[in-house]
Amino acid sequence: MTMTAAPLSDLAACRLPRLLPQPRDPSYAAHWEQLGPLPAPGRGLIDEVLASGLRGRGGARFPTGRKMAAVAAGRGPAVLVANGTEGEPLSAKDRALLVGNPHLVLDGIAAAAAAVGADRILLAVERARPDTVVAVRQALAERPPGPVIELLQTPSRYVAGQETALVRWIDGGDAKPVFGSRPFLRGVGGRPTLVDNVETLAHIGLIARFGADWFRLLGTDDEPGSALVTVSGAVRHRGVYEIPVGYSVGALLDHVEAAPAQALLIGGYFGAWIPGDDLTGVHLSSAGLAAAGASPGSGVIVAIPEDACALAEVATVAEWYASHSAGQCGPCVFGLADIARAVRGVLAGDPDGETAARRWTAMVRGRGACHFPDGAATFVDSALDTLVAEVADHRHGRCRRRIGGYLPSPAPGSWR
């Protein structure tokens, strides 16, 4: 765990921390002193990333090497988009990286761009995060001459971080998803486009130096490497942590001194709820969470304590989902609004609320141009599966828990 500072000179040998060593000087000088130059760029990096088994850290967990290979095989020069938008409300890992270790991200960007033959590089950060923007600008100014990296400031919209929406916005349109679009074939300006999360690119910055075998020293065979998680809720030490993939959720909660949890939200608003009591066998990997009906997603973990009303939090996020729809697809526009209405019904003790909610979550899955409605469906379904006792309490009007406000509902921004 990263609470203990690792000797910086030992990075090649030591296992953690990799991405966020403490204490940290984000300057280029310190970065150079610690890691030295990035090896000469080349196409061999794609094979190395494939061998490393690195999976995207933006939430989808798609094998990064395969994506890079697909873009490299595309027609004409490619485009690289580094996705640092971090629309997931409780996630802080991407900005922790961009502020705390920007040059590692920039190294990864340069290496990936060279590997896929990209002659245009864009780094997207939400404009509502001025501290991150300033830090990135500072880091870009410090870089020695090399490929130009354009910093773009995106609107505060959850779906703006979705690949096709980001590409559309970059090309001058609304930050709304495009049906049937595959950016790795035709993306920005019609060119093959590699869209990668900034944490994924940071890992590439290290794989380029230390190789696939080194990357595999941590994590599991199917999902190797380390990952950043953001822990919040009723825990003593909230924040961003770097863990080996497959780390025990229970051990992580002990480490951050979490209060006994009624339920955990794994993967953020796009994730799923799991019960907080018995965490044996629950590990932070796709395989380790599948049995519990969840997946790591963007690495957000929220602990809701026993004395807080988790259903109220669920209702807040159900409303958030309804108000953040891109408004392009009927089942999403109307379905998410009605799902929120049904969850409010459950909160109010309406006996029909749960049946209606489940009917409508089933009805919206797979019906949109993107997976936003699926996110709402999984969030609500898993809540109803996990918070059985709470739902019963509300039905009988006997919930005495307090409103904790652990899950915020940021207001939507513009589409441009």
Binding site: G330, V333, F334, D350, T355, A356
Partner: protein, 198 residues
């Protein structure tokens, strides 16, 4: 021989007038179906698909009658219209202005039908923009009928024109009162209890 020529001429003349009026009635039907379909008019007896297909098929039938109307008008020797007047407005030898309106109406209809047949190859916006011209085509046809038509003045003809105008104006009036945009009327929102649409 003079008798047969006169007779032939009279038949063409009557067919020309009749087919014109029939075409106008069919066009009115087409307009009404199109206008109400946009605002999703439907009854159990007249579902959306029926109204939409009616709109398409009646418009094609109208074209058939229009074709007869134009050809007989040109062939008939009682008045001189000329082939060019079928396509280019204001080139008829007889009643230049009122016949010209009819020609213009047909030209617009041509554009409507061609763009609709090629709909899948055009952008929706383009197709829609051209289709709005229907609101020009129909009044032009009405004006042509009233101005160039030689049955104007007869009571039954006046009734046809009046009912046609009433139908289209009524449809437009109905349409203007319907809500626009992606709204779901409160009555249609599913309730928690039933889950199904009312």
């Amino acid at each position: 021989m003079l008798a047969t020529t006169l007779l032939q001429s009279k038949v063409l003349w009557y067919v020309m007038r009749a087919s014109g009026l029939v075409a106008l009635v069919l066009l009115t039907l087409t307009m009404v179906a199109g206008i109400v379909n946009v605002r999703r008019f439907a009854t159990p007896r007249w579902p959306r698909a029926v109204i939409a297909l009616l709109h398409r098929n009646v418009s094609l039938l109208a074209v058939v009658f229009l074709g007869v109307h134009v050809v007989t008008a040109i062939l008939d020797t009682y008045v001189s219209v000329g082939w060019l007047a079928a396509i280019v407005p204001l080139t008829s030898h007889w009643d230049r202005f009122w016949v010209g309106l009819g020609t213009l109406s047909v030209d617009v209809m041509f554009a409507l039908i061609i763009t609709s047949l090629l709909r899948s190859r055009l952008s929706h916006r383009t197709w829609r923009a051209v289709h709005w011209l229907a609101y020009a085509s129909w009044p032009l046809a009405m004006a042509h009928g009233l101005g160039a038509g030689t049955d104007t003045g007869a009571v039954w003809a006046e009734a046809v024109y009046a009912l046609s105008a009433l139908a289209v104006v009524g449809a437009v009036g109905w349409r203007l009162r319907q809500p626009t945009g992606r709204t779901l009327p409160t009555a249609r929102r599913p309730t928690l209890a039933t889950g199904a649409r009312s």
